[in-house]
């Protein structure tokens, strides 16, 4: 039985348990006054069935693949057993892919089996793998369903008027709520550990000093020792300068445009213009980044190159300027809506004080409102910077791959996020320095953006307290 039907069956069993429990409780409470209303007994039966059974399904599903793989590998001929770990994992992937192909597509690559000895072994392993997987599925279904049935029988047995079913149900629900809320913490822990462990593994291959201060980035490592191509170099400085260059261009576009838009909408625009312009600007924030990337790569970048060439300047077709410009436009709504909030929060009596001294509106805005709102605006800009640094799709599509150490906006640069995507979408063994490097970059990205976010939240909160 597949996992999805199994889960549905368990759900149906729980539903049946609910009605049975409710019914039994109702019958029992005709003579004695029951502690809890009948449907709570029903809920209790259902929850006691559902939660353990689903836990079993989850654990089994997650554990089975690695267990089965280990079993299959253990049966492989000694020749393969003795291979180095990396080749063994390649072989494991091979027979798993084969199994997938046979199982899903019902396609048997007969000609491949005859071709070489190693594929024949892989084919056998794949067959065994499929066989064990089926067995595991059947066992899983049997264990889960009998557990569910047992639990229904047992909990139904416990339904009695004295049973504090409501309290038990509420305790279970409260537990579920705490678990749900704690997922936020688990996520952060998961992020930290996943990037940290892989990054540490990376630093066993490449010293941190070289990574942080090296100026040459060329992650093409040789897969086998006898291949030419060297060991690759992992100096992250060009990626950092590339990221900063593009983010700086984006902020140069977004901060003035966003800030002036916010000022105009908050201080000058008539209510009619405001109700139209504000949502329209919000639309800019709702457009998926892949759309911006497409626009940057296919419309803006060629336009910039042609314009530059018409002035006799050479420009790359993947210029930092194109990516930065489009990213800047994307960030405008972040800057403007955050600035709008803080500008509107500046108390009216400060404005009145300035007007009463004979200041014009713009003088009041520049000399009183903006300085008063500055912490909030800075917070917004920090948040925008964090977004620019972490933005992926625009740079993957519109920025280049060549790690150049340049500040020329018409040149092509690469960024941290571009490299993460490039390193992880190729066909590479999972634990090669190349893929591990992506996690080291991810660690850096996480630390930088987290710092900016915390700083920004802190600054904005301090600002709010000032006027509350």
């Amino acid at each position: 039985m597949d996992t999805l039907p199994l889960v549905l069956t368990v759900g149906l069993l729980a539903l049946a348990g609910f009605f049975a429990g409710k019914h039994k409780a109702r019958l029992a409470s005709t003579q004695v006054r029951s502690h809890s209303r009948p449907h709570y007994h029903g809920y209790l039966v259902a929850l006691w069935t559902l939660i353990p059974a689903l836990l079993v399904v989850m654990v089994w599903s997650f554990a089975s693949e690695s267990v089965i793989t280990r079993l299959v590998v253990a049966e492989l001929p000694a020749r393969i057993q003795q291979m180095p770990a990396s080749e063994k994992s390649l072989f494991t992937n091979e027979f798993k892919n084969l199994a997938n192909e046979i199982d899903v597509k019902k396609h048997i690559p007969t000609e491949a089996i005859k071709s070489s000895d190693s594929t024949a072994v892989a084919y056998q392993a794949a067959q065994r793998y499929i066989q064990l997987t089926r067995l595991s599925q059947q066992l899983k279904a049997a264990v889960t369903l009998s557990l569910a049935a047992l639990l229904i029988w047992f909990t139904l047995h416990r339904v009695q008027p004295q049973l504090k079913a409501r309290n038990s149900v509420e305790t279970i629900i409260k537990g579920l709520m705490i678990v749900s809320a704690s997922i936020a913490i688990l996520t952060t822990v998961g992020i930290v550990f996943s990037v940290l462990f892989e990054a540490l593994a990376f630093f066993r291959h490449v010293p941190p000093g070289e990574f942080l201060f090296g100026t040459h980035w060329s992650p093409q490592t040789a897969i086998r020792a006898d291949q030419v191509g060297g060991s690759g170099s992992f100096g992250a400085i060009p990626l950092l300068t590339g990221t900063l260059l593009i983010s700086a261009i984006a902020l140069v576009v977004a901060v003035p445009l966003g800030l002036f838009s916010a000022i105009y909408l908050a201080e000058y625009a008539s209510p009619g213009i405001r109700t139209v312009a504000k949502p329209v600007m919000e639309v800019l924030a709702g457009i998926p980044t892949v759309v911006y990337g497409f626009f940057a790569a296919l419309t803006v970048a060629p336009f910039i190159r042609e314009t530059a060439e018409s002035f006799g300047i050479s420009a790359s077709s993947e210029s930092a300027l194109a990516a930065g410009l489009v990213m800047g436009i994307m960030i405008i709504p972040f800057v403007s809506s955050l600035s709008d909030d803080v500008i509107s929060a500046v108390p009216a009596i400060l404005r009145d004080g300035s007007y009463a001294l004979g200041a014009t509106k713009s003088e009041t805005i520049r000399k009183v409102v903006i300085p008063a709102a500055l912490p909030g605006i800075v917070g917004g800009v920090l948040l925008a910077a964090s977004r620019a640094i972490g933005e992926t799709m625009i740079v993957v599509m519109a920025a280049g791959l060549a790690a150049k150490l340049t500040l020329n906006p018409l040149d092509s640069v690469t960024t941290i996020t571009t490299q993460i995507v490039t390193l992880l979408t190729g066909d590479q063994a999972f634990d090669s320095p190349k893929t591990l490097a992506a996690f080291a970059l991810g660690l850096g990205l996480f630390v930088v953006t987290l710092t900016l976010n915390i700083l920004s939240l802190h600054v904005v909160r301090k600002y709010r307290e000032q006027y509350e």
Partner: protein, 294 residues
């Protein structure tokens, strides 16, 4: 209070106090104030206003007020909350321009010059007619920069030394200099409420206006700070024309030359302060200053 609620329904048996209360209530509700009593006009006024109407949207806030403010005098405006005295004050330096729904009609003149004339620049007007607000509102800048703000805006100081001089002079005239002379570069928001309000007054007189409007300048302050500000007002009236809105009749009596009583958007009575507090002519004024309602 109604007659039916009383045990004795004979009108002749009503107590004098009850009759008085009944009359007051009727008077308070009776808004048929046709004509301002007393002396709303003066010889050679600094500011003169005629037939002023103000609306917020469709709602009238001020109905047909005509009033003069005498040169180098203090005019106090009193009246219950919502009577339109603050709105009227804000018309005098066109602060109501910043409220989109507000519409002002009538004739306003400063030294005979039309305040609302098409060529009149509110920026220039406000440099001549300064304003101090109910809640002290120093800018989030240093004490020095607060006072220098208007001076810098209008380019009134040729150099730093001249600016320093203006700042010191203004702070001295506001009676604040000795308290803050060592902290000129600390934020103005760090001062006490009374000091903040005197800082706002210093800020206003730094650009040397002709008229100072004060909108309940002491309502947020303690009695000692209030006394200091009142003293300051009397001193300033030697050089400036002052119009003050106040909730406190005692304050009006202490600082003003003339007093105007507003009631529900109308100007009921204007007279010399001594006369209005001793012999009010309109029953509404009398009821108000004797504390029967307010």
């Amino acid at each position: 209070m109604t007659t039916e609620a009383l045990p004795n329904t004979d009108p002749s048996a009503e107590s004098a106090a009850l009759q008085q209360a009944r009359e007051n209530n009727r008077a308070a509700l009776d808004v048929t104030v046709d004509k301002t009593v007393g002396q709303p006009f003066v010889e050679n006024p600094k500011i003169s206003t005629r037939h002023v109407h103000v609306f917020y949207g469709d709602k009238p806030a001020i109905k047909d007020i005509s009033l003069d403010i005498g040169r180098n005098q203090v005019l106090a405006m009193i009246g219950p909350s919502g009577c339109g005295k603050s709105t009227f004050l804000r018309c005098l330096n066109r602060m109501n321009d910043t409220i989109p729904t507000c519409r002002v009609e009538g004739d306003f003149r400063l030294d005979g010059e039309d305040i609302y004339a098409p060529g009149q620049d509110p920026v220039l007007l406000r440099s001549r007619v300064g304003m101090v607000f109910q809640k002290p509102n120093p800018f989030p800048k240093s004490i020095y920069d607060n006072v220098a703000y208007g001076v810098r805006l209008h380019g009134l100081a040729k150099n730093r030394a001249e600016l320093d001089e203006i700042v010191e002079k203004s702070l001295r005239r506001a009676g604040l200099f000795d308290e803050v002379k060592d902290d000129l570069h600390k934020p103005g928001t760090g001062l006490s409420g009374g000091q903040q309000q005197r800082l706002c007054i210093a800020r206003t007189i730094a650009i040397d206006p002709e008229v100072i409007l004060m909108d309940e300048p002491t309502s947020a302050l303690d009695p000692i700070a209030t006394a200091l500000i009142e003293e300051l007002m009397i001193e300033l009236s030697e050089n400036y024309t002052i119009a003050i809105v106040t909730h406190s009749m005692q304050q009006a009596a202490r600082v003003s030359n003339r007093t105007a009583y507003f009631h529900m958007g109308k100007l009921v009575e204007v007279n010399d302060t001594d006369r209005i507090f001793t012999t009010p002519q309109h029953p509404l004024t009398e009821n108000y200053i004797t504390g029967r309602f307010g």
